[in-house]
């Protein structure tokens, strides 16, 4: 037991203790919701940590990759809207083919003649023709039952597959983006990824035929049973009744049935959340193990060598650009997986809710506070910051209440500030980030094998 191990134990012990306190003082169900979102945040933070902590890539486009994960949850799990496919599928297919032909022809012309204006004309013509078919097809798709559908739907597989698909989709996008932007210097890369994530969100928000845009997709299938089914299942009823038999027995007979029903309802909510926790925990542990193995392999040492001194590493014959691309793809894929998990947990995909403060910069705070370069640190950071993010809202309200208590109860300024008290958590998060960066730049759990 080194000091580091004690520190790890204490960090996670504290987190566990805090969650227990919440479950006792508020409710178990609330504690579990926080815990589940903590798990998802921890996975997102792992993705960022792999990019920043291992390789020093400053990616502020996490939001885009999580949104792609969410999109894949829709595309995998929703039932196919067959009318929409028959209305616009052919048109979409044709426009896809024309687009492919355009790209191929442009590449050919570029190679053969090397004239920029020819490529330009070709691309313009291709886009023009594609648009024609594309607009027609999308209009047809969006016209079909727009109140509930108006999009292509998905392929109707179990939603768990979307976690894999989300990872793959994000990885594909990351490969494309990485190819273009990884040659850039760190702060340029940051700005480029920030912009690209905004583009991804803009596309998802506005291409209604694909994702229903801001009309949202609700009612995604679940990988766990529904509360209502549990409440009606005989075995579940019996189990809860026998579990609580002791505590209910002393009640008058007339109240016993009602008491049992309440307990069954509460228990069904808790059980469903526990099922989610099980899935999320499994994914987190799997990623954690794989990431740990990778980090301590020769490959991992190479990545860290590149991070610490790019010039020296490339002098030793390491392909810096290729390694950066690899890391960028892996980290983004993890962000994609977590995005799909988040959509699964929420049971809906709401493109309008993706904002960089919450989905990019908050994740960065988790990584920096947790300790960049340390996987366990990122997990701890994910837990801690998400917990603070949730609890800072009531705390902000309380703070605003105290600070304005000298004002009249009905004073408009007081009411206005109380209404906006939820935003105090932004100030609080920024404060945490600034304090950690100033006084403990290595984070709660610093990188352990720095000197390897």
């Amino acid at each position: 037991m080194s000091r580091y191990h004690i520190r790890v134990g204490m960090t996670f012990g504290t987190i566990f203790l805090v969650l227990v306190i919440v479950s006792v003082s508020q409710s178990l169900s609330l504690a579990l919701s926080i815990f589940n979102l903590c798990l998802i945040s921890a996975i997102m933070a792992l993705g960022v940590n792999i990019q920043w902590g291992y390789a020093g890539l400053f990616n502020v486009g996490i939001m885009g990759f999580t949104a792609l994960g969410g999109l894949s949850a829709v595309l995998i799990s929703k039932e196919c809207v067959s009318e929409a496919v028959s209305a616009g599928g052919a048109g979409l297919f044709i426009s896809l083919i024309i687009l492919g032909i355009t790209i191929a022809a442009s590449l050919y012309v570029h190679k053969k003649f090397n004239r920029k204006w020819m490529v330009f004309v070709l691309v313009l013509a291709g886009i023009f023709i594609t648009r024609n078919f594309f607009m027609e097809a999308t209009r047809a798709i969006e016209a079909i039952n727009p109140a509930y559908e108006g999009y292509l739907g998905g392929i109707g597989l179990p939603i768990l597959f979307s976690w894999i698909a989300g990872g793959l989709l994000a990885a594909g996008a990351a490969w494309l983006i990485g190819k273009i932007s990884l040659g850039l210097r760190t702060d340029y890369l940051a700005i480029a990824t920030l912009g690209i994530s905004e583009i991804i969100i803009a596309v998802i928000k506005n291409e209604d035929w694909l994702s229903r845009g801001v009309k949202n997709v609700t009612g995604l299938p679940r990988p766990v049973p529904f509360e209502l089914d549990l409440q009606q299942a005989a075995w579940f009823k019996d189990m809860i009744a026998s579990l609580y038999a002791g505590s209910i027995g002393h009640l008058p007979v007339s109240e016993q049935a009602a008491a049992v029903t309440t307990r069954i309802n509460d228990a069904s909510i808790v059980v469903v959340k526990l099922c989610y926790s099980g899935w999320f925990l499994a994914v987190l542990v799997l990623i954690l193990i794989l990431a740990g193995l990778a980090l301590n392999s020769p490959w991992g040492r190479m990545i860290r060598a590149i991070r610490d001194n790019e010039t020296a590493a490339s002098a030793m014959g390491k392909d810096v650009k290729q390694r950066h691309l690899q890391i960028f793809v892996i980290g983004s894929a993890i962000a994609g997986i977590s995005g799909a998990m988040l959509a699964t947990y929420n049971g809906q995909f709401t493109p309008g809710s993706y904002v960089p403060l919450r989905y990019t910069f908050l994740i960065w705070v988790m990584v920096i506070v947790g300790g960049s370069g340390n996987n366990l640190g990122s997990v701890a950071g994910g837990f801690l910051i998400w917990f603070l993010w949730i609890e800072a809202e009531p705390a902000g309200f309380w703070l605003a209440d105290i600070c304005t208590s000298f004002l009249d109860k009905q004073s408009p300024i007081r009411l206005h500030l109380l209404e906006n008290a939820q935003y105090i958590r932004l100030i609080f998060m920024g404060g945490v980030l600034l304090v950690v960066m100033r006084f403990r730049p290595d984070g709660i759990l610093p990188e352990t094998n720095k000197k390897l």
């Binding site: 932007s181 583009i199 980030l433």
Partner: protein
Amino acid sequence: MLTDFFNAIVLLLNFVIVPALSYGSQLALSALAVTLIYAILRFANFAQGDTMALSTVITILLTWLLQKYGIGLGFLPTAFLALPMAIVVCLFYMLMVDKFIYRYYREQNSKPITVVMVSVGVMFVTAGLVRFIIGPDHHIFSDGARFIITARDFKTMTGLSEGLALKTSQFLTIVTAVILVGGVFYFLQKTKTGKAMRAYSDNKDLALLSGIDPDWIVRVTWILAAVLTTIAGVLFGLDKGFMANSYHQLLLPTFASVIVGGIGSPVGAIVGGFVISFSELMLTYAYKKFLIYLLPAFLEPGGLVQFLGTEYKFAISFVILVIVLLIRPTGIFKGKVI
């Protein structure tokens, strides 16, 4: 025939060129602030959008106060009266942030990327302050005369069927931007402090060796940034109304302008601002009516003749940004080399 031609030109002026000029001026001012901070303090300031919002919030509060007491500027917006005070408050905020946050990293000689991350922290705090003070809603705080020329006046004046409306806010934006940019360039080129700033930006060690006081340079940079940021924010707000989120999102086109022009180059920031604003408006404008005026009847276009929907405005600035980064990473005017 000739009337058709003039109608087409007026149409383009009204919907593309005048709005692009005013939006471009706002971007240029904001980009100038970012580029100055980059040139002197050597980090990309992610807090720019929210700092703009904060200074605009201060202006709005002061404007409301002035309006309550019935003090105004006639046909000019009252916000202009509140502006100097708001600049002072904004400057105070920036100097405090610098004193308690950025200075430490400057003295430690931290890597630029660390300071960028610190600026993300500042962004969080500033964004929280803005939303706490004024909330997430849309506020319109412009008063005074709304138009200098209304579309109808223009039509009766010229007899054309297309009108050209010039909003007071647009006119003021362009005039203010010209004066302000002229002032900043005069300062940088002609005054002793301005020359010292450029020397400091070019070669810090050499500048320090020749007795330039770094603290003074940094302070002057923040003063310039505060003036530019506040005025840019207020002009944007007068033009389009204030909403915390839209200011936060201005960060993206601002960065695009800076990089397209060449990061660290003041002229580049201005040019970049206009490149971004003109491409955004020109690519999202539907040219149907414009072409109807110009083309003979049988060539009349069927669709809207719009390259991209207005919802992809952001995408444009970033596509331009990426193209510039790939082809000419130093920007149009050679900025700081990688």
